[in-house]
């Protein structure tokens, strides 16, 4: 985003940068052309505009470099946490399988996004996938609702899907992410939203430059029973004995709630990692672009300066030769 702004501004100022001597009065041959201050009646080309541009571009470069360093350090901190939490959802998938193509009446899409911007395209990707899932699961008798985590997805989804949004949660990363916080969140969602299937859309952190949009599906206990009876992926669920609890239904209820909070925890951490990684690469390309702009502006500045010196000399020399001959 910073890059686009810089590019736009570059275009706007281009006509001003081309050196056109501003006609004014003569200056003394010794006064250099670069100063804005000088006696009244001086004639010189102002490089002030170019110099202001250079100063602001240099500041932008410093800022984006600093943001990149900050994102890198935050990434380091959260990456270990995310990698440690990767084992958490695997037992559930091993037991219950993964059924993204399950056909249910009440779908809820949980979109995980960031609160802050300048992190590349990951939030737009998540929103695009959420909208696509909405389209995929639409049908007669099917309804799809959104639960939004993070400001950026809220801004995008509120514009056209306002009536489908059930819950919006922001300021997730105010305090460092912990399982307690996420389980409270999961509890909130489970209590307030009716669902047959929850689809969590997030960006999985693959590496610092690669983020894979992923969708994890958590089914409600009734649907798990239905799929178990129908056979197929969950068909072997009946072969498992149940220890503890009164009925199988109660255990399944606890199981799905626990699964949801574990999967949420992992997805929130992975998305936070992806956010920091995307911010790092966005700020890196931004500072590189600022550096390029600075080079171009420096050349323009020197050309302007030299052109005005040459003009000075030409005037003096032609004046002198006019006097002689």
């Amino acid at each position: 985003m910073a890059m686009a702004a810089l590019r736009r501004e570059g275009r706007r100022f281009a006509p001003l940068i081309s050196p056109r001597p501003i006609t004014a009065f003569r200056s003394s041959p010794l006064a250099p052309t670069r100063e804005a201050e000088g006696p009244i009646g001086v004639r010189y080309i102002s490089t002030q505009v170019v110099r202001n541009r250079m100063k602001s571009v240099k500041n932008i470069q410093k800022i984006t470099k600093a943001m990149k360093m900050v994102a890198a350090s935050k990434l380091r901190a959260i990456q270990t946490k995310a990698e440690n939490s990767r084992g958490l959802w695997q037992p559930f998938t091993a037991l219950l399988g993964d059924t993204p193509s399950v056909d249910v009446k009440k779908n809820v899409i949980v979109t995980v996004s960031s609160d802050k911007g300048l992190c590349g395209g990951i939030n737009s990707t998540s929103v695009k996938i959420s909208k696509a899932l909405h389209k995929l699961n639409s049908g007669p008798e099917n309804e799809t609702k959104y639960v939004i985590l993070g400001e950026k997805a809220k801004a995008q989804l509120v514009r056209d899907s306002k009536k489908d949004i059930e819950l919006i949660i922001t300021e997730l990363q105010k305090n460092p992410l912990s399982y307690t916080q996420v389980s409270v969140l999961a509890d909130d969602i489970l209590k307030n939203v009716e669902f047959d299937a929850l689809r969590i859309v997030f960006n999985k952190f693959h590496s610092v430059v690669s983020f894979l949009p992923t969708v994890s599906t958590v089914l409600s206990p009734e649907i798990v029973e239905r799929e178990a009876e129908a056979g197929g992926k969950l068909g072997d669920l009946d072969s498992y004995e149940i220890e503890g609890g009164e009925t199988k239904g109660e255990i399944l209820q606890n199981l799905t709630e626990f699964q949801f909070s574990c999967v949420m925890f992992n997805s929130v951490l992975e998305n936070a990692c992806s956010e920091q990684g995307a911010r790092m690469s966005a700020m890196d390309s931004s500072s590189r672009n600022a550096g390029d702009m600075l080079d171009r502006l420096t050349l323009t500045y020197n050309r302007t300066r030299q052109a005005s010196i040459t003009t000075e000399l030409i005037e003096i020399i032609s004046g002198a030769s006019a006097l002689e001959g």
Binding site: K81, N84, S85, R86, G87, L88, W89, Q90, P91, F92, T93, A94, L95, G97, D98, T99, P100, S101, D103, K128, I129, A132, K135, L136, Y179, V201, K204, L212, P213, T214, V215, S216, T217, A230, G231, G232, K233, L234, G235, D236, S239, Y240, E241, I242, E243, G244, G245, I251, N254, L255, F258, C262, F265
Partner: protein, 200 residues
């Protein structure tokens, strides 16, 4: 249309009953394939998102004879304590009591209460106190234990346990609403389990 597709899928999977694992490679691909096809039909311009199945290691199928070792995965939100560790036996604190799991144990889903998880490998026994969670024992001698918190027993301070127990007992007697009573009861359960873990 999707229902018909899942009906069609049921037949080949029923034929392959010898491998109950839905995360084995061929089954995994078919599951994703339904989703991929449906996605491509409706949204042809975008790449479909990945699903957890593509990030998982497939589990081995049920062997015909009972294996000699049990493979345990003990995971917490903050770390994977034990990842595919081969052990002789684990004892998990299920809500119905301590449950011992040996290789070849019948497939079970067990809800856990706060208690001691002990892992027996040869002559050494590692004990952890876990808060509640779940334990899945699969037919192929794989055991997954998922808990929210776990500490090795030597890190627990006995005096704090006693203090906590006294505090929660007092809270229970002075509790007015159901919520407070439930919270105090949970505190008492955990602390008495900690107590018995330290003594027993």
């Amino acid at each position: 249309m999707l229902r018909r597709a899942s009906g069609l899928l049921a037949r080949p999977i029923l034929a392959a009953r010898a491998r109950p694992f839905s995360t084995d490679l061929p089954a995994a691909q078919t599951a994703d394939a339904t989703f991929l096809e449906a996605w491509k039909k409706v949204i042809p311009n975008m790449d479909p998102p990945k699903t957890p199945l593509s990030f998982m290691q497939p589990r081995p199928p049920t062997p015909s004879s009972i294996p000699s070792k049990l493979t345990v995965n003990f995971v917490l939100p903050y770390a994977s304590e034990l990842a595919t560790k081969e052990v002789d036996m684990v004892i998990v604190p299920a809500t119905t009591g301590q449950m011992g799991v040996l290789p070849g144990h019948v497939a079970t889903i067990a809800e856990l209460k706060p208690g001691v998880l002990s892992v027996h490998e040869g002559n050494e026994v590692t004990k952890y106190f876990i808060s509640s969670g779940f334990a899945f024992i699969h037919a192929n001698s794989f055991a997954d234990v998922i808990a929210v918190e776990a500490v090795p027993l030597d890190r627990i301070d006995a005096s704090l346990v006693q203090k906590g127990l006294a505090e929660f007992t007092q809270k229970l007697s002075s509790a007015t609403t159901d919520l407070e009573k439930a919270e105090a009861q949970i505190g008492i359960d955990v602390h008495s389990a900690l107590n018995s873990a330290l003594t027993g």
